[in-house]
Amino acid sequence: MSYTSLVYILALIISAVLLFGAVYFVIMLTDLECDYINPIDLANSLNTYVMPEFILFSVMLLMFLFVGQWFTFVLNLPLFLWNVSKISSNRQFYDATEVFRTLPRHKRENFTKVGFFLLSFFYYLYCMIVTLINEPADTLISS
């Protein structure tokens, strides 16, 4: 099995995890809107996942870079740059005192992420299958 297909298998798993993460964020924000949780709890629980999410996503991007999947890399680049800009301006965390003011924006962000990770999940699945099919028979046997 080639590295490329391995990377796509990993990317498939990571994007599934990120997808669930984004869904969790959306659920929490909706809960906040409906007054099921208070903003302090929300900020505490969400802020723990902000950095792991970013790291996971960056790792995936690096993997694509290593195996030379340029097109996939470029597809993911906008989200990465956007994340970097947020972190550099120290806006990545949820602020309990301001969260209601920024709630619509946060929700929009997370819905976009859900959509993006969903699409990329299927894209990685497709890429994985394609790479596996196109692999020469000997590599298949050797693995």
Partner: protein
Amino acid sequence: MSGRIPERPQFNAEETYQRKGSPFMGTSPIANLSSQAQATVAHPASLKPQSTSTQPGFGTGFRPSNPQNVRPISPSNRPTMSPQNQPGIPPMRPGPGMRPVRPGKPVIHMPNQPPHSRPQGSPRVLSPVSQNQQQYPQKQNFYPPHQGQQQQHPVSGYSAMTDPNPGYAPHQQNYSQPQQPPYNVGSPNASSTNVDSQNFSNIPQHGSKRRQYPAQAASVYSENIISSAPKPGNKKNLPKHTGEIKNITNDYNSAPFGIAGADLFVPGEYNPSIPAIPKNTTTSTGYPEITRQGSTGLQRYPSVQNYNETYPATQYGQQEAPVTNAVAPVDSMATQFGSMSFGSGNPNYQVNVLAGHPQIQELEAPPPPITLPAGIPCCPSETHLLPPIHKRSTLNAIPKTDKLLKKSKLPFGILLTPYFEQEGIPPPPTVNEIVRCRRCRSYINPYVTFIEGGRRWKCNLCELANDVPMFFDYDSIAQTTKNRWERAELLNSVVEFVAPADYMVRPPMPPVYFFIIDVSYPSIQLGLPEVIGNTILEILDKLPNDEGRTKVGFITVDSSLHFYSIRPEGSEPQMIVVADFDSVFIPSPTDLLVNLSECKEGIKSLLAKLGQMFSKSHVVGNAVGPALMAAQKILTPTGGKIILLQSSTPTIGEAALTPREETKILGTPQESDALKPQHNWYKNFAADCSRFQIAVDTIFFGHQPMDIQTIVCLSRYTGGSMFYYPTFMSTREPEVRKFKEEITKHLSARVGLEAVIRVRASRGLRLAAYYGHFFLRSLDLLALPFVTPNHSYAIDVEIEESLTGAVAYFQTALLHTACNGERRIRVSTLAIPTTENIHTIFHHADQVAIAALLAKKAVDRALVSKLQDARDAIKYKCLEIMSAFKTECTQSSSGAVTQIKVPRNLQLLPLLTLSILKHTSLRPGNTISFGNRIAAMASITVLSPEILITPCLVPRLYGLQLGADFESSILPVFPSAESLSYQGVFLLYDGHNIFLWLGRDANPELVHSLLGVDVNRSVPSGVISLPVLTSEEDGPNSPHILNKYVNQLVTALGIQTRGLWSPITYICKENGEPLLKTWMHQRLVLDRDPSLPSYQEFIGESRDKINRGSF
């Protein structure tokens, strides 16, 4: 039976004004029901010649052209007059003793329930009026006899049914109270009484239609009450063209009654008989002329009360009752009114802001009247209208659609001071049982409607029908019936419900005060510990301590934390020093926070020694972060208030801050970034505090950089207050006094504890954003560990969907624990009519509220975004509003104009905009330190609009001269350098400071009388404490009479600002210290500033921009 709907009257806008403002329309509703001829006959004296001659519809705006259509006199259907309805004869009213009680069956008391709506065998109905009479005995004459009237004049049933918005029903003017209100006695109107009461009795012909609308019966019925009951509080807004529209000003200060008909202002006419303003002449436009008085040449503007008498804003626009769902003929008429060019073309209702001085006294005028349609509230009481101090809206007529609001460009929001309390104003009445709507959870209030014979009530916010609880009508303990119209929650717009245990998550907390005192070297230099010790010592006995539950505790901080263990036995307090900040721990579990009553001795001995203890200390460094964390740990079980007294930058421990370079970036675009918190520790800590019901007050001393902008987050998100004393030194007596008085006032206030505020609004309205010091716990729930009586909150309101009701409501519920340990809910309900007419919206806009809301929003924006953005936004908004008015409401809707017309009630908007821009919080330039700016921003954020506008934004300037009495000695003048004359002495008051400006040739006699000093030169420039001079000879001939008057004035100004500040007095001489002079001149908002234009320039610029259409 001619139940014909009369034809639409034809009249133009001009007529409307005439009608609305006419003297007898204003005072005598009786005139309304007379026909043209009768009116002329009945009120020969009060009719203006041109009114009768040129305006055929005068006084009868809603009357058809042919009076015969209205009142076909047919003796057969005229009901018999009962003696009760005879004017002048007091009606018989059933007293409690006359009430038959059926044992075992509750008796429902409904006011004048129409017979048709009473089901067979339903309980007996009694009038609420008899109860009102008992409640307000001195005013009983103002209430016409409702009893019996209803049966005899069922026309009200007709009106309300044919027209859900009765303000437009053409025949409605035909009924009025048959009893002459006392304020008409003596006026020529009195002679018309007989005619009127006859007319009144002529109208029952529509009664047969009532049965079609049984569901509305109760509301119909209460409309009847309103229609015939002028409110005593209606000085200027007595029922006018229609008997049913009830007009009540929110005029809190004005005398409630006793204005004779001739005294009322007639817009557009010069009324020489106005007795209230002897000093000021009134010009033909109703404006008082500015007169020059006295040898000092002081330009005085007319005093407020006098001006109010002539101010027509409260008199026009009142027929603009909402137009919805009106049935066909009435609807067409209503449409006509709606489309009537309201205000356009009539110069008396618009003001050209380019002409002359701004009418500053308008700032103290009451907001435009809230004109509720008939039938609201359900029970007539004087207290149903919410005083504007509790809650005021920027628009006292709410547009029905968002489109209309957008078109008017006016900001829509409400400003509330939910816990407003002041000495002399009685606290709201207390109610023991809570009745709430099942769906929207709003509380029952005066604006609900009783339906189905009074067995259910319809919520005014969501219109759900709820059951009326049994105890409204029946006292199960005493086994007697009760009158529900005696219930305080149905009579008052502000009530306090006693909350049962369901509203508590834990036992009510005691008031807890925890002091964190900075004792590092900078603080010692200022002499702070001693002053603080003495001050707290004095406050101890004034802290709210109703049940002896109040607790206090202390930590002093330098590079280590000093805890104080105090024991009730009276032994000396022990100091425990903790210098390990890796994990903050509490050295002693119980005796760091002690009961004030039990441990008073120990506390006192600690405070007395506080100054001594640290006088030799040279420890640099401050560990506020760990101290705050320790305090939070100590307070977690109870909640409470941390009072942080800080005079140096926190440098040690978790919350350490690096001092930011100030001087280089002041006035540059980077300034905005520097105003943002350095890091989020304080914010997050504040959010945590709010969860444990801990509030933090931050008090800063000294001018060295402390990164106030970061630390102040503690107050901002916990509902705390912020104080800043940049020039504090223990040796400066006035500064020390200022600190002492302000802190004493602040801490001894009776606060509410562990509070939450929720505001509910009618369907279609969305409360979009909140401004103030609080923590937003959920979308619409403000969490406030401590509610300070003076704190105000602003809310942005959006119109999500079109409003269907004639009135929109805002209900604030403040759940709190009072100082005495009782859990209470303070509920206040504001009712505002809705409209579709853009003129009405403009003419009911409240400039004070608008300016306050804009200022609060601008500060918020400056803190989130940039200072310049905030300045631009506020300037843009002002131009936008003026431009929108020009396009929508004036004839010169397009093209260039030479004048800027604004509605009279918005005429000060440009001035207020300019003064917001010139306020310390937003003023451009490099002279304002971060601390001063943040403190100014905090004061804008928390202050209630009344205080914020004047003196904070627009300071008061008085010219002092030797006059016969107070009035003639202290003349209010325009806050402009133009007013200052080199011979005079002036007093400028901006809340925090008093400047005594002495001209270079100030009259020595004047100075002597004021300060007791003989020669001008011997008066030093700078801070003084205003002396209180006494002399043997008292009275007007006293040599120090001016001193007495000025002291009186300062006291009065202090009361007006609710004692929030204790001002420092400065002597500012014309040829004295230039810095002080500049500082004072910055407060003269009408003048030019290095970076901001003068008022006239600003107006000129605005005109050019409006003409260009691009701003």
